[in-house]
Symmetry: C2
Amino acid sequence: MSHHHESSTINIQEPIKSEARGKFGAMKVVKAMGSSGGGALKRGLAIFDFILRLAALAAALGATIAMGTSDQTLNFFTQFFQFRARYDDLPAFSFFVAANAVASGYLVLSLPFSIVSIVRPQASGVRMLLIIFDTIAVALISAGAGAAAAIVYLAHKGNNKINWAAICQQFGSFCERVSGAVVASFIAAFIFILLVFISAASLKKN
Amino acid sequence: MSHHHESSTINIQEPIKSEARGKFGAMKVVKAMGSSGGGALKRGLAIFDFILRLAALAAALGATIAMGTSDQTLNFFTQFFQFRARYDDLPAFSFFVAANAVASGYLVLSLPFSIVSIVRPQASGVRMLLIIFDTIAVALISAGAGAAAAIVYLAHKGNNKINWAAICQQFGSFCERVSGAVVASFIAAFIFILLVFISAASLKKN
């Protein structure tokens, strides 16, 4: 009977642990466990996730605005010839603006979910939602940045074989602005990759 | 005392379940459990992962070869003028070939790891490794496909404002081949996104 009594004292803790692994009641148990266990690590990851989302938002929004407001007009000797460079002259730049704007909007919407996973570090449903949309954002931003980078490269260097002229000698400030936007967008893509890693580490059993 | 006895019978099953969640001994327990539980689902996902990797390899390798062998020479009326279009005339296309070749190489290397996760569906270390490199592959392939798509679009339509001429009227078969490679690469990127989702679902506790 003493043996039965021992196993029943262990038994009391088991349902609490499995409750901690479940969706609800995770917070109380984590607090009771103190800093030990995966809860604290996952909460740290969730806080890092939130900070990275703010950084990605700054980069993606900066890229959107820098590219979206790029506009340079050149007045040549006569009033008859006026040349103007704007992002929407090139479909690749328009796609770039759309991709970064969509990613920025998604980042704003994802912030509450990131907060939920700080409060409930063990909730895997929220993590799954974030990892799915973060992965799509990686593809979207990378494709947009790649497309814009290809055109920016062409604008800087031109192409002798195909007879596409470099335009950055004339449109210097336009090219600078656009190049900055592309760099910001690649930074945003890199942060999105880190966000996927964080979600994966949070989903992992530890 | 009857109450104590009841709770101790539940207690016997708890350590087995937590062992199943651990890294080792997962297989035996899954076999003992039969087809019920998350083991069968995760094995199904792992098999699907392997098949998708073969499909992604076909797409990425196809894109690499189609772009890498694109070469069209035009002989004009005299022998003095000869025009030739090759992928390495354009840095965006060279990057495209490199990105798809690297992704193809990675896919071949990832196949044994995919097999490991079929044999051990609960092993989360292999899943973490795959999700990290799959996410990087999503970014790499998307950037390459985006860059090539921007140039292909330009080759088809040209740009009046910047005075970049369309070249696909002359180099029709070159453009067709290059466009096909871009489509194949976007398919590979899409499959990589699915592979990240599969890894995430496998890491998730169920």
